[in-house]
């Protein structure tokens, strides 16, 4: 089966590449050269790889945010809002609340936790709305995304605003609160490691622990889970807390690791995260792979854009979309294939027993 998966994935890449080439040719760009740039930007050298990793980091976390909640049957679209809030909180912590004399390690930890906490709180809001007022999470999270955006803008104009400018941007994070960079001349920060660790833990929790078992059960059949005595509401809220926490953490890491200051334009990793999660089939490791994939896409796109050819941002968007679609189609196809063959096996074992 697994081999089959791989074969199909490779096939998917090939198909995607083909489609992209044609598309580029149609739009009058030298396809070969662009793909080469793409490759160079994504994986060619250590700089490229570092870039890919850096870009994958927030996607991984928001992806987890979606995956963890979806698994528990909580349809949390709010990663974007939770990310924003988390980022804002991290900024507040590092530039306002903490005294600049706080030593780095505790300082950074506190900032990260603050971010995660804020994200979780924002998510909890949605959960509580559902628990008490039966407001569907899908809906409240979408609305909370917009609310968060404007709320953060307000903060950036008032409390968080940098001194000496009227721009809606925070002052810079004190250097010793920024996440250490692991590789010179890149922004490959240790946040990547943190994200990876989180993913590992998530994977472990999901396959090995009671919590993972129960949440998955809930996601698949809530009524049955309830009847066997699994505390459904509690688990779902916990899942939301964890997921939203991841999203908040993503925000904090982006700020402390890459940007070192904040504006409301933080990039919509939240929405991308949903796609990442589903492409990774809601499985943490799958999500990690998907995140890397998306990261590579971004890195490559950037290189192709800044090159002398100057591939327009929009066009690179098209290419991304086409590639994703191709992956999806192939993925779905292969999945169905595996599923079928899986069924065959069950069946004949069954009758083999019955005979």
């Amino acid at each position: 089966m697994f081999l089959l998966e791989i074969i199909f994935t490779v096939g998917g890449c090939a198909l995607a590449a083909g489609a992209v080439l044609i598309l580029l040719a149609l739009m009058g760009f030298p396809p070969g050269h662009i793909l080469e740039l793409w490759y160079r930007g994504a994986v060619a050298d250590r700089y490229a790889l570092a870039d890919t990793l850096t870009k994958a980091c927030p996607l991984l976390l928001t992806g987890l945010a979606a995956a963890i909640t979806f698994r528990a049957g909580v349809f949390n679209i709010g990663a974007q809002g939770q990310l924003l809030v988390g980022a804002a909180m991290a900024v507040a912590m590092s530039t306002r609340l903490l005294s600049p004399h706080t030593p780095p390690l505790p300082g950074i930890t506190m900032c990260l936790f603050a971010g995660a906490g804020a994200g979780a709180a924002w998510g909890l809001l949605a959960s509580l709305l559902e628990l008490w007022r039966k407001v569907p999470v899908v809906l409240s999270t979408i609305l909370l995304n917009f609310t968060a955006l404007y709320a953060v803008k307000i903060l950036l104009h008032s409390y968080l605003q940098a001194h000496g400018t009227s721009a809606p941007q925070s002052s810079q994070i004190p250097p010793h609160f920024c996440l250490p960079v692991m590789m010179k001349y890149t922004s490959l920060h240790i946040g990547v490691l943190i994200a990876a660790a989180v993913a590992m833990v998530a994977e472990f929790v999901q396959v090995m622990t009671v919590f993972g078992f129960q949440t998955t059960a809930i996601g698949l059949n809530e009524a049955a889970s309830r009847l066997v005595g699994i505390p459904v509401a509690a688990r779902q809220i916990q899942a939301m807390l964890i997921g939203a926490g991841c999203a908040g953490l993503a925000g904090a890491i982006q700020i402390l690791g890459v940007a070192h200051f904040m504006t409301a334009k933080i990039g919509n990793y939240g929405y991308a995260g949903i796609a990442v999660a589903l492409l990774g089939r809601l499985d943490p490791m799958g999500v990690a792979v998907a995140a890397l994939f998306f990261g590579a896409l971004d890195a490559g796109a950037q290189r192709a854009e800044e090159s002398s050819i100057g591939l327009p941002h929009e066009t690179s968007n098209i290419i991304k979309a086409v590639i994703i679609l191709a992956m999806l189609i192939i993925g779905a196809w292969s999945m169905r294939r595996t599923l079928r063959s899986g069924l065959w096996q069950q069946r004949n074992t069954e009758t083999g027993d019955g005979a």
Binding site: S187, K265, G267
Partner: protein
């Protein structure tokens, strides 16, 4: 850096097809690059978060000048500037001094002041309004100047202010309509791509009630002969980006570009007012024109 072809990069946060701030910037950059036989890379839709790594890449590849078109690139630039000697950074639209970075402070205050004055002269209702895409320094400067200018002519005038979005054309249209409904008859807008919405609102308002004309100002680019309602566009506050960029580019190429703020004002003819010739003499009476000239003199003398 002799012998090597001079490389410059232009990065902006929006879309270079927005028919406003970003597009003008791109065009200016292209023009400059042509003139200097420089190699130009253009990056649009750059979030501040991406900006840092992007700029670092550029200087790794020996770019001579990076133009960050928008205040949000100031901080990333400062960060990268620390670790590079060759690359120069020019940030447009910022109002702050940072080490190692040249900021071009496009100050529309004076032109807006003029427009405000003109608006006050023309408004019959004593209510005028300003629509911005986002509350950022360059935009807020417009409002400040506009208000001051209007007050200078008519102390009792009411100057409204509202913010919508750079992209959502519909939103700025409804906003403009809200203005007009409340009796505002001169609108100053700085919303780039969305300005079309404002023009639409003005156009339909004028079609509905020709008796009570509503006028509008253009901004950033020269929008006087916009196809929608140029007959009601009094004037535009224009930033001649090409001029500014050319200036810094030449310095940068010669390695003479100093860090610090360049105030791009009316004084060095970067930020100017362009009246709409179609309306000269008809709506904008010679008297008004003359008064504007006086005001301009004062402004220039003031600094």
């Amino acid at each position: 850096v002799q012998g090597r072809v001079f490389r410059m990069a232009f990065i902006c946060s929006g879309s270079i097809t927005d028919g406003g701030w970003n597009q003008d910037g791109r065009d200016a950059a292209v023009k400059v690059a042509k003139a200097l036989h420089a190699k130009l890379s253009v990056l649009e839709h750059v979030t501040p978060i991406r900006a840092t790594s992007i700029m670092r890449d550029f200087c790794r590849r020996h770019y001579g000048l990076i133009i960050g078109h928008g205040y949000e690139f100031l901080v990333p630039a400062t960060q990268v500037a620390r670790m590079t000697t060759h690359t120069r950074f020019a940030i447009s639209g910022a109002d702050k001094v940072e080490p190692g970075v040249t900021t071009m402070n496009f100050d529309l205050t004076q032109p807006s002041y003029e427009l405000g004055a003109l608006a006050a002269m023309i408004s019959r209702t004593g209510k005028i309004g300003f629509i911005g895409g986002e509350a950022i320094p360059s935009v807020e400067a417009c409002y400040k100047g506009f208000k001051a200018g209007a007050r200078a002519v008519n102390p009792k005038i009411r100057v409204a202010q509202a913010y919508t979005s750079w992209d959502q054309v519909g939103l700025s249209k409804t906003q403009a309509q809200a203005f007009i409904q409340q009796g505002i008859d001169v609108i100053y807008q700085n919303v780039d791509a969305a300005s079309q919405g404002v023009f639409e609102a003005v156009k339909s308002a004028n079609r509905r009630h020709p008796g009570h004309p509503v006028y509008v100002f253009g901004c950033n680019g020269n929008q006087n002969n916009n196809p929608t309602c140029s007959r009601y566009t009094l004037a535009s506050a224009v930033i001649r980006l090409d001029r500014a960029f050319m200036h810094v580019a030449i310095l940068a190429k010669a390695g003479k570009l100093k860090a610090g703020v360049i105030n791009e004002t009316m004084a060095n003819h970067v930020c100017i007012v362009v009246l709409n010739p179609k309306l000269l003499g008809r709506v904008i009476t010679p008297a008004m024109e003359h008064r504007l000239v006086v005001i301009r003199k004062h402004l220039l003398a003031a600094k």
